[in-house]
């Protein structure tokens, strides 16, 4: 293995490249762009935002004090066997400032850099917060596949949801299979997991895609093509979708007998907060999908009956500054209700899920 000092020098050089791109004018010769680690030197990794080769690391001991986290861009631990190299990442502005006056830990690149401004642009896909001088976490946009932004444009070699072998997950940030990062499901979803993943127990996992192969989505395939790495705008992610005790508090739902089926979906928000009231939801934002593929807007409106109670089914389920939602809704069956019902659910630009309600 390369000596620690020489690794630090490589890291400093790589940081210089990063600074040249992220914070300052291009004062140094730039290497050619990369899209994969294999295009970089053996001791380097391809930075997914900068698209430049930066110094790789295998453990925190390889990194300088200013950037002591050795991880993949998506936060996955170094040393995983997915073939994705880790690089030294900063964690606090204080440590960056200590290494070089005026520098901050740039969220978009996870590398110490100068503050961004009107004349110091951020890397492609991220935006400058003029107040803090920080480049927001970078996102990728759909180049236009005619799919309503659901799938985006995956590159050669990119993983897609469900394509990795357990216990690895497809990291939506790097688009590579990698070991799952630790998280706590005691915290609001997705906790420390990146968009597209959920915290399952103590590790990040891919968001459920039980709508894939489910008959409810046979005639409505678009939501099943959801790819968190490329979807734009990022829609709400459904973490769980289950059957719950039937709603009998509102006999008007299915006449005097009460709801025939009741379901609960737990979601976290994508690009924007959930609205404070069901009545304010955008049209077709949260949808129930029948077995024939017809999607029904949970909020109703226009002339349609809502499937959820505005207060008890929606507003009371908001939490974490409207970033999390526990949605409860009811279904009625004409005639005699069957013992079970196959139900589909998805949020606009979110994952498709299916469940057998009882």
């Amino acid at each position: 293995m390369m000596k620690k000092t020489s690794l630090w020098l490589v890291a400093a050089t790589a940081a210089g490249f990063a600074l040249g791109f992220a914070g300052c004018g291009e004062t140094m010769p730039m290497p050619s762009t990369c899209t994969a680690d294999s295009q970089c030197a053996a001791s380097e990794a391809c930075h997914p935002v900068l698209r430049r080769c930066v110094s790789a690391c295998t453990a925190a001991v390889d990194c300088p004090d200013s950037a002591k986290t050795c991880a993949t861009f998506g936060g996955l631990m170094a040393g995983n066997d997915a073939g994705v190299k880790a690089f030294c990442q900063c964690a606090t502005d204080q440590l960056c400032e200590r290494a070089s006056a005026g520098q901050v830990c740039q969220p978009a690149t996870k590398i110490c850099g100068a503050k961004c401004s009107a004349t110091e642009p951020c890397p492609s896909g991220s935006t400058c917060d003029m107040m803090t001088g920080k480049c927001g976490a970078a996102t990728t946009t759909d180049g236009g596949t005619g799919d309503g932004g659901m799938t985006g444009d995956a590159g050669v070699g990119d993983c897609t949801p469900g394509s990795c072998t357990a216990p690895q997950v497809c990291d939506p940030t790097t688009r590579r299979c990698a070991a799952a990062v630790a998280c706590s499901s005691a915290n609001p979803q997705p906790d420390t997991c990146v968009y597209g993943l959920t915290c399952s127990g103590s590790a990040c996992a891919e968001a459920p895609r039980t709508g894939v192969g489910c008959m409810n989505f046979t005639n409505l395939p678009t939501p099943t093509l959801w790819n968190p790495a490329t979807v734009n705008p990022k829609g709400p992610v459904t973490v769980t979708f289950t059957s719950i005790t039937k709603d009998t508090n509102m006999p008007l739902f299915c006449g005097a007998r009460g709801a025939d089926f009741s379901a609960e979906a737990n979601l976290y928000a994508g690009n924007t907060n959930f609205p404070a009231m069901l009545d304010l939801l955008p049209a077709n934002f949260l949808n129930y999908v029948r077995s024939d593929g017809q999607a029904l807007d949970i909020k109703g409106g226009g002339g349609q009956t809502p499937l959820a109670r505005p207060t008890g089914g929606y507003a009371s389920g908001l939490s974490n500054n409207n970033k999390n939602l526990r949605l409860r809704f009811n279904l009625c069956v004409m005639g005699t209700a069957p013992a079970t019902l196959s139900a589909g659910f998805y949020g606009e630009n979110g994952n498709a899920v299916c469940s057998t309600l009882q």
Partner: protein
Amino acid sequence: MSFKKMMMSAVVAAPLAVFAQQGTTVKPQPVIPGAEPSLACPEGTRQSGGKDTVFEATFCTKAGRLGEPLMHGPYLGLYKSGKKRVEGAYLEGKRTGPWVAYDEQGGKLEELTFKNDLWDGKRTQWIKGQKILEENWVDGKRQGVQKEWINGKEIATEFRDDAPVKK
């Protein structure tokens, strides 16, 4: 019009049945008699819904092109307590103009504007009087600088056509 006739009209005008499953339906919602507010419904519409219906709101409906009930006119959502929950308006079945949501203590929770059922204009959210979100929407897409306050710290992001602006 007698009260009985008015109630019958309201039942007839209740929103279209929704099919929750193939061959299944949600039954039309009758208006529950009680202390409902009197809305200034436009000519040709009638007041429907009620705070004790599944809508938890009172609104105006008229017959749509195929005879289906269509919301048109003011919309007033109420808590069970009778306090205001949300207020806005529909135009030919689509939300239009300013809409405001309130908590049960009368504090604003959210304020936004609809145009042709799409978010269009400034959108602001509060929780217990503290502003947590300020966005700008045009025809259902975010445009311009969006601000969010997390633990009192402001985070600003610029958007164009719902995507962060590339610099």
